[in-house]
């Protein structure tokens, strides 16, 4: 019992209106995936765990449940964040990145993007979705996205150590229909990166 109380120290509140706000957040995440690269607003969460962008915490509350093992990177892992997810979602914590349906990265620099579950030929949908916190969704190195959901091309410039992700992206795309999907979060904003999108460096 003592351990339970310890974990609950400063437990953060979730959505004020869980049903409506998680539906609104789910719809925002779907829109973000349908229009890759377009910055979409997620509902605000008043008190996300320390260091988590509000939109990332809102997405976690929306997507996770008892059937979706979640893996947190070193930076995301903290007693407060784990208590938050355990209380609000009941999601089990995966010991390895490869066993997780959702991965939460606060520092994409340290991630090995070949670790994540890419699904199987029979069930390509049973792959990991990687939720990545970045410093900002604009103002970083510019990339050009092309593919389904984009009429001609879409520019994005997220800032925050994404070179590892971009390095892994061509391989991830080549695996199609297998592969992981990713979301980038900063503040209230989210950018969706489905596995189908093609990404290149912006040439000036």
């Amino acid at each position: 019992m003592a351990a339970v109380i310890q974990d609950a120290a400063g437990l953060r509140a979730g959505f004020g209106a869980p049903v409506l706000e998680s539906q609104a957040c789910f719809s925002a995440l779907m829109r973000a995936l349908a229009f890759p690269g377009r910055v979409t607003q997620a509902p605000t969460l008043a008190e996300p765990p320390d260091g988590w962008p509000s939109a990332l915490a809102a997405a976690a509350l929306t997507l996770l449940d008892a059937d979706t093992p979640v893996w947190l990177d070193e930076n995301a892992r903290s007693p407060g964040a784990e208590a938050f997810l355990r209380f609000h979602t009941g999601a089990p914590f995966a010991a390895k990145a490869g066993a997780a349906r959702f991965a939460i990265l606060l520092d994409p620099r340290s991630a090995d993007f070949t670790d994540f579950d890419i699904g199987t030929d029979q069930y390509p949908d049973r792959s990991a979705t990687v939720l990545i916190a970045v410093d900002a969704l604009a103002g970083g190195p510019r990339s050009v996205l092309e593919g389904p959901g984009i009429k001609t091309s879409q520019q994005i410039a997220p800032k925050g150590g994404l070179s590892g992700l971009w390095e892994a992206w061509p391989r991830n795309r080549a695996l199609y229909p297998l592969g992981f999907d990713a979301f980038l979060f900063a503040g209230d904003g989210v950018i969706g990166l489905p596995r189908s999108v093609k990404r290149t460096d912006q040439r000036d």
Binding site: I5, A8, L11
Partner: protein, 140 residues
Amino acid sequence: MGVLARAPADRLTALMAALGGKPATDWLRRPEIGAVMTRGRAGGTGDAFTLGEMTVTRCALRLKDHVGIVGHAYVQGRDVAKAEAAALADAMLQCEAYAGSVRAAVVEPLRAEEAARRLRARRKAGATKVDFFTMVRAEG
């Protein structure tokens, strides 16, 4: 917690309402009504089996002025007010400043009432008891 959960809703809410000086609270989880699957074991030791679904109201709140104290409540039925009162009592019981008064003014009276209820039920059942002892002796 068991005493709070089993108490009749109107008694619990009345006792909590009568209690003065309650702390301010924030919701962690607003009261929500759902169903839980209850499981049982025959005789308490046999294989687990599914007893059926039970309607449950749950909520969780925290005290504004005492960081880290979270009151939880899961109560049978659809009574939101009862779940709220039970969660607040649970939080107050974890807090030294309130635990004494809640225990004396809420938990102990409810515990005594529950014991009286059980005794009454046992007496009623006891009055209908049939003693088969004489039949066993008649055979031997």
